[in-house]
């Protein structure tokens, strides 16, 4: 909690103490790293935008630009345990494997150009693939998403801006799983598909121009 308050006070003092922010209307540089301020269960963190590994923004001109986010995960864990006693020898093996990758691209347009607070809107799409192999459960998932977004960006310093963004996304996800209920004897196949048009939580985005 205190970390969040300190972060917020620091941010407020930087943002509000300077009267010059009214006069800044567009960033002097074309590229920006995108970060997201996330308050999750009372812990305030700075994450990469879109829960990605890298997220960048490029302006072709002050009004029009592209955003790209790339996400990947890989986790492979194997453990073997042997338990010996006078009466029994037990050997257990554990295997956890997870991988995932995806990317999101979108284009945006700024409707106002001269004001320090600009309204923008855009369209984008993305794909994410994941595979999980945990004990007896093997699962493959694919998510296709297309989304529209609109928000307001406030250029607080020449190279720093804060945006608040609404997102409406249409996503199609497909998950196929095979679960060995009793190995060698019975198993279950599950297929899950989902079409969804839904709004995402409002994002607080910090852009650092370079």
């Amino acid at each position: 909690m205190y970390r969040g308050i300190v972060l917020c006070l620091l941010l407020s003092s930087v943002l509000l103490a300077q009267g010059q922010s009214d006069s800044i209307s567009s960033p002097p540089l074309n590229n920006a790293f995108l970060l997201e301020v996330v308050n999750y269960s009372e812990v305030v963190n700075l994450n990469v935008f879109n829960a990605a590994t890298f997220s960048l923004k490029h302006h072709f001109n002050p009004r029009f630009g592209l955003r790209a986010s790339v996400r990947f995960r890989y986790w492979d864990e194997q453990a073997e345990t042997t338990q010996n006693s006078e009466s029994e020898n037990i050997k257990t093996q554990m295997k956890h494997f997870r991988k995932g990758f995806g990317s999101y691209f979108d284009c945006f347009y700024y409707f106002s150009n001269q004001s320090p607070v600009k309204f923008y809107a855009g369209l984008g799409g993305g794909y994410f693939f994941s595979k999980t192999d945990v004990e007896a459960l093997v699962q493959k998932g694919e998510v296709y998403t297309t989304y529209g977004f609109w928000g307001a960006e406030w250029l607080i310093k020449k190279r720093l801006s804060l945006s608040l963004e609404y997102v409406l996304a249409f996503s199609y996800s497909k998950i196929k799983a095979k679960d060995d209920l009793v190995p060698q004897t019975a198993f279950r196949k599950i297929q899950y598909t989902n079409y969804e048009l839904t709004q995402k939580p409002i994002k607080l985005i910090l852009s650092v121009y370079f």
Binding site: M1, G4, I5, L7, C8, L9, S12, S13, L16, A17, S21, D22, V37, N39, V44, F111, S112, S115, P116, V117, K118, F119, W150, G151, A152, W154, L164, Y166, L168, L181, Q184, T185, A186, F187, R188, K189, I190, Q191, Y192, T193, N194, Y195, E196, L197, T198, Q199, P201, I202, L204
Partner: protein, 224 residues
């Protein structure tokens, strides 16, 4: 605890001060957000967008749009596996759930004392929403059954509110509303339970009127 955090940040923001230009004029357009927690925001009046348009310095329209749609399918097949024979299907389950919810709310706001740092306003508006929820669950093979549920209807609401707005930046303000909502809802439900023992259908219609206070929310308006 959340209120304490918001209070600390508000007090600090207040202490920094911002001199409002005179004569004051509202910028025309604003997007609105609800301050849910420290650095955590939510939609203000509509889940897709909450938007404000100033007709002039005294009147503004606030609109909120809600859209929700989901369609889920789940197929579950369970097999018995034998070493020397093909796998045999012993249970098959298909589940589908579809939800739709669309809504629009428009409120006309009237501002008073606009030259003052804290502006007072009252508002009056109405909205409607349509909703539908449908799910089916079908099991074949062992313990076969089939269930269906469908609910659809509409909701009308009228709201009256009054509140205050304070500009802490030339393009940003904080506000909160007091007020109440009057809801009228009509909902029709159809249900089917079909098992190997019996088949039962149920049909019901419900109408309700509900008067409730507006949920108190701290709003952030970003003008452009």
């Amino acid at each position: 605890m959340r209120l304490l955090k918001i209070f600390v940040v508000l007090s600090f923001t207040l202490s920094l001060g911002f001199a409002q230009k005179q004569p004051f004029a509202f910028p025309k357009y604003a997007m609105q957000f609800a301050v849910k927690d420290l650095l955590r925001f939510d939609d203000y009046m509509g889940s897709v967008i909450s938007f404000k348009y100033h007709l002039n310095n005294h009147y503004a329209l606030r609109a909120g749009i809600d859209v929700r749609y989901s369609d889920q399918d789940q197929n579950r097949d369970e097999y018995n596996a034998y070493p020397d024979e093909p796998d045999s299907l012993y249970r098959q389950e298909d589940f589908n759930e579809k939800n739709t919810d669309y809504g629009l709310t428009i409120v006309l706001l009237r501002y008073f004392r606009i030259e003052q740092p804290i502006k007072v306003y009252i508002g009056n508006g109405a909205g409607f929403s349509l909703f539908n929820k449908k799910n089916t669950n079908k099991v074949v093979q062992s313990n076969a059954f089939n269930t269906k549920y469908e609910a659809d209807g509409y909701r009308l609401n009228w709201r009256f509110l009054c509140g205050v707005e304070w500009f802490f930046h030339s393009a940003m303000s904080l506000n909160f509303d007091y007020g109440f909502n009057v809801y009228y809802e009509k909902k029709t439900v159809k249900q089917l339970d079909d098992t190997s023992i019996r088949r039962r259908t149920r049909h019901s219609t419900r109408k309700s009127v509900n008067v409730s206070p507006l949920q108190m929310r701290l709003g952030l308006s970003v003008y452009f």
